[in-house]
Amino acid sequence: MKSETQYPDLPLATSQRTLQSKGCHESEGQTRLGGVTIYARSDEELRRLCDDVTTAIDRVIQAHASLTRSHLEWQVQKEIKNRIDRRVFGALLGAALRRGIIDQIPCAAESGKVFRVYIHATSRSLFDDRLVAVIARLRKDRVLPVRVVRDVLFPLGGWGTWSSASHILARLALRGSAKYVDAKTFAWPEEVDHAVRQHS
């Protein structure tokens, strides 16, 4: 994920000084998103560049089942062929979330910590259907490698599909319907069934 370093900087920054350091001596355009002020050379350029990034976020997410923030940021930079200031990207990503273009799903990492993945708003019901399908499969098989889930959900494969399959399982892990065996394998929590049987 290092190829974006060869791209030129997008002339958007969260301070006038940073914008100047990108070779822009004027900063007449500015907008505030989620408590962050974004500066550009002019209002027209600000609007155009923010639209470009938002459109790229929309397009990149739509092309993938789910992405982590770092992968999304990398893909968006590839799409617009510009390097984007991290805080600018965060503010524009927040705006896309606020407007309901994309959504964020919390998942559990192997350590138990929460991490978030991004999906396109129009993929929400598909994401939920996949959760249901994987719970059913996990309940039946008891142990599922991420590879098997990827082969079932994304039979055509492709970049990012293994990660998207792992996001489905990591979401189930946060809900407690799956547990990590290791980073590549998940299991059904057997004690949960015992608990239900014991109390029913």
């Binding site: 994309i102 959504d103 919390p106 929400r124 319907s177 547990k179 929590p189 004690e191 949960v192 239900v196």
Partner: protein
């Protein structure tokens, strides 16, 4: 007749506690405020619509709710705002919302028990009609097989602790010790010790409202916090030194990717305003 738009998922304050609107047309008594700001029960009519709306989320320090995009809420100054507009312009933090919570412990009803039970089942790792098993945010080592409250039990599976809750325990608690039951569930399932706060997913607004009320009645000062002004995956219930005021700025407002059926809510007295998810609903204009 005053009317407004809310969602199946919106939460009403009834004399017997918080409940989701649900997916049926019906009439019921809910709590609202009269012109003098006095809480009064009033009759409302809910009419299920076939119109789907994206879920519009809005949160303050004292309330978090799910509404229709077309929902209008009352502000502290008496003006009304359209949520669609608030979200589009990212203006929630500039607006002072008026919120309301009930002081008296509500006497639960079968409807409240059903609503709360459905909420807990939705959070479950697995559930049957009588039992819900909810993953605890943290491992509770050494507490396995112990009961944090009557009718609750902790079980462990590897590194994960689960709370087992029965429908019967919830029903019985609503007639006796609903607050302590809910606080025990929250402590077991949602507490993160590193941050000393509870973390509930943002669509758990029914539980959030029950918990904020239960905490207030227990004399514990807590405030709702969010990931950011623009979006939140969670509602964080944080320990604070002073009780947040019921009049306060919006802290987060966004459109979710989820959608829900719209509900038309009607009431007869134009000087009375129903409480929905802790906010005051404003009637549609025109």
């Amino acid at each position: 007749m005053p009317s407004g738009s809310i969602l199946e998922r919106s939460v009403l304050l009834t004399p017997s506690g918080w409940r989701r609107c649900g997916n049926k047309s019906t009439e019921l008594d809910v709590i609202g405020l009269d012109r003098a700001g006095t809480p009064q029960a009033g009759r409302i009519r809910l009419e299920l619509s076939s119109v789907r709306s994206r879920v519009a989320f809005v949160g303050t320090a004292t309330a978090a709710g799910e509404f229709a995009e077309a929902t209008r809420l009352l502000l502290a100054a008496g003006d009304a705002v359209d949520l669609r507009q608030v979200i589009a312009t990212e203006s929630a933090s500039e607006l002072q919302f008026e919120t309301f919570r009930i002081d008296a412990r509500p006497q639960g009803s079968p409807q409240q028990a059903k609503s709360l039970w459905e909420e807990l089942q939705a959070l479950s790792a697995t559930a049957d009609p009588e039992t819900a098993v909810i993953r605890c945010a943290e491992q509770c080592t050494g507490k396995a097989n112990r009961a944090p409250a009557a009718g609750l039990m902790l079980v462990e599976d590897g590194d994960t602790t689960y709370l087992v809750v029965t429908r019967r325990a919830i029903e019985e608690s609503l007639h006796a010790n609903a607050d302590s039951m809910l606080l025990a569930i929250a402590n077991a399932c949602f507490h993160r010790s590193e941050e000393n706060r509870w973390e509930l997913e943002a669509d758990s607004t029914l539980l959030v409202m029950w918990l904020l009320d239960a905490l207030r009645r227990a004399g514990i000062r807590r405030s709702a916090q969010y990931d950011s002004l623009q979006h939140s995956c969670f509602v964080f219930i944080d320990l604070v030194s002073t009780d947040p005021a019921p009049l306060g700025p919006g802290r987060c407002a966004f459109l979710s990717s989820r959608s829900s059926n719209e509900i038309r809510i009607e009431w007869s007295d134009p000087s009375w305003t129903p409480v929905v998810s802790g906010f005051l609903l404003s009637p549609k204009t025109g």
